[in-house]
């Protein structure tokens, strides 16, 4: 799993010697190929990636895969267990669960990626500002982050959700504007260490503007942790959407959001557990896939860490 043999002693600072394994020495390879080669070795990450590709295809071709529409009701067939007609059974008003879960992939991926994009943009901006300009800017931004971290996340999300309403776009905004704190902290930490390096000094000496130094010089070098946390965040956004649905401030019917289906299924636990287990399974597998891919990316992008 790692390039460095686990038993190999590292130097006192924890940084292993460069090119410790013989296979590392050889002709130069582009970084991307190198990362992919390391990523491929991580079996869980590859399984996760495979599942995400599968999920993406399901979302794209949902109309071709789903045998029914998301609102179509089979008359008289309420809470039917899985059968040949309805692979995942039917829900409380006779809609086909399989079709709704297939279409739900679209909703979850859309919410997951869009909200993460918002979080990454806000977190990147504030984290970069705080890390690059230390002093007052840093203090103010760090304080703001501390204040928001002090408020219980769900309280914040529920309160903001009651402002923005419950449309799918509103949920994206709620999850986006509440999810940037951790990202900002990570970005701040990398900017803080990177801005002291020589190439930043060189760029400053060349008279480049601070914006250019921040985003053209430092940012590309700070991207790795952002990619990793971004990937994992997509998974956690999908979890948070489920939590909001459960508390009654998530997306509304008839949106086929998985979290909403789980929340609706909780009442039929005794008689029709499949209403809970199928959408819950979809959430768990998707979140796991994002986490595994994120972990795999971390190891592949930064072999020093292992």
């Amino acid at each position: 799993m790692t390039l460095v043999d686990p038993g190999t002693p590292t130097t006192a600072t924890g940084v292993p010697e460069v090119a410790s394994a013989p296979e590392e020495i050889g002709e130069a390879r582009p970084l991307r190929a190198d990362v992919w080669r390391r990523f491929k070795r991580n079996r869980l990450a590859m399984v996760g990636l495979g599942f995400l590709i599968f999920l993406g295809l399901v979302a794209i071709f949902a109309p071709l895969i789903a045998p029914y529409s998301i609102t179509e009701r089979a008359s008289g067939q309420f809470r039917q267990p899985p059968s040949a007609d309805h692979w995942f059974g039917t829900d409380a008003i006779g809609r086909d669960m399989f079709s709704r879960i297939v279409y739900g992939a679209r909703v979850s991926l859309r919410i997951g990626f869009a909200a993460t994009a918002i979080s990454v943009i806000i977190g990147l901006l504030f984290g970069a500002l705080a890390g690059f300009f230390s002093g007052v800017t840093d203090t103010v931004i760090t304080r703001v982050i501390d204040v928001f971290l002090a408020i219980p996340y769900i309280v914040l999300a529920v309160a903001i959700a009651s402002v923005f309403g419950r449309s799918e776009n509103a949920i994206i905004i709620v999850l986006g504007v509440t999810g940037w704190l951790a990202i900002a902290r990570i970005v701040r930490a990398s900017f803080l260490s990177l801005r002291r390096l020589e190439y930043v000094e060189a760029a400053t000496a060349l008279g480049f503007s601070r914006t250019r130094i921040m985003f053209r010089h430092i940012l590309p070098n700070a991207l790795q942790p952002i990619i990793v946390i971004g990937t994992i965040t997509v998974g956690y956004v999908i979890l948070a959407e489920a939590a909001l649905s459960f508390l009654g401030v998530g997306p509304q019917e008839p949106t086929p959001a998985w979290g909403l289906m789980v929340a609706a299924g909780k009442g039929s636990l005794t008689n029709a557990p499949h209403l809970l287990f199928f959408p819950a399974g979809a959430i768990v597998l998707t979140v796991l896939a994002f986490v595994f891919v994120g972990d795999g990316l971390r190891d592949a992008l930064d072999p020093k860490l292992k």
Binding site: I151, V155, A159, A242, A243, V262, L269, A280, I283, V284
Partner: protein, 334 residues
């Protein structure tokens, strides 16, 4: 050390002030009229004059800044007001809910310590073994399952199934409410109480236990590579002593921090677990009050949650310095 603690305590004040002020103003931008709610609900037809009287009574007609000033001058003297909905004093609600929350939190943390640390430790010692791989997958899964889904699965396994299969009465666990509410020494369940406690405690502990196990594993793997571990082995100590006395002590530090912070978090943020099991704690009370716009309850309970979180974090940082003498608090900060 003392000056560090005082400085940290002083820093808590603006954080709490800003957090509560933010919530205060956020609530005045929410759609809907709190006076209407006080007068008896959002959709009912209300006698004329009732809304006006309610607004008058709670000062809701004053300019926002005046209300804001009033709120803080009352809060500083710990006058948290009364619920808009039930007219109960917020201090009463607080007393009742906080106790239930703290009891549940204590048990979740006990599970986190008793399960998380040994599992992570074993996983690190037997790296790449089957049990290590299994741990990796199970801990990842535990943090990927929505908390309430885990709660429902547990309810189904230990409450629904036993009923269907006719298990003996003592083996059936309870899934709703706090039960007889009988405790010894504040947190030890007596009589039937454990049957109500066990499922919510496991559910609440799941995510943090998984995190603690992962962190313990990572931390122990790092420590395994340290020079003093090699020295300890080289001088012929038993492997058990090497692991426990030299390894575990050092590897525990970040895990202790995590568990401390978790304790601060689970007191106020157990919303999903509490809602799933109808456990009458702070988190679900806050969430309910937010959706019902019961402003005094939201602000009063959040104040306590935020204070508890900040104080516990401070305690964790201080104890960290005590555990690890290399850390000098308040000196040489960047």
């Amino acid at each position: 050390m003392t000056s560090y603690i005082i400085r940290r305590l002083l820093l808590i004040v603006p954080t709490v002030f800003l957090a509560l002020s933010f919530l205060f103003f956020l609530f005045f931008t929410l759609p809907g009229d709190p006076a209407r709610l006080i007068a008896g609900g959002a959709n009912r037809t209300i006698e004329s004059g009732v809304i006006e009287r309610a607004s008058e009574r709670y000062g809701l007609n004053d300019p926002l800044l005046v209300q804001f000033k009033d709120y803080w001058s009352r809060t500083i003297t710990w006058d948290l007001g009364e619920s808009f909905l039930t007219r109960r004093s917020v201090n009463d609600i607080l007393g009742e809910k906080a106790v239930a929350s703290i009891r549940l939190a204590i048990w979740a943390i006990i599970i986190e310590i008793v399960v998380g640390i040994p599992v992570g430790l074993l996983s690190a010692i037997r790296r790449y073994s089957i049990s290590d791989r299994l741990t990796t997958i199970v801990t990842a899964a535990a943090s990927a399952i929505p908390v309430f889904v885990l709660g429902f699965v547990l309810q189904w396994l230990f409450a629904v199934q036993p009923n269907k299969l006719g298990w003996p009465e003592w083996a059936k666990l309870r899934t709703q409410g706090i039960g007889p509410d009988s405790w010894a020494l504040f947190f030890i369940p007596t009589g039937d109480q454990w049957r109500y406690l066990i499922l919510p405690a496991i559910t609440l502990a799941s995510v943090s236990t998984a995190l603690a196990a992962r962190m313990m594993r990572g931390s122990m793997l790092e420590v395994q590579r340290a020079d003093y571990m090699r020295t300890a082995r080289a001088k012929g100590l038993r492997e058990r002593d090497v692991i426990v006395k030299h390894g575990l002590r050092n590897a525990m530090l970040p895990v202790v921090t995590l568990i401390g912070i978790d304790f601060g978090t689970v007191i106020g943020a157990a919303v999903l677990t509490e809602t799933t099991f109808s456990w009458p704690g702070l988190g679900s009370e806050i969430a309910n009050s937010v959706t019902q716009r019961d402003l005094p309850v939201v602000l009063g309970l959040t104040l306590v949650v935020v204070l508890a979180f900040a104080l516990i974090n401070l305690l964790v940082d201080v104890s960290y310095a005590w555990f690890d003498p290399r850390i000098r608090l308040g000196k040489g900060e960047h």
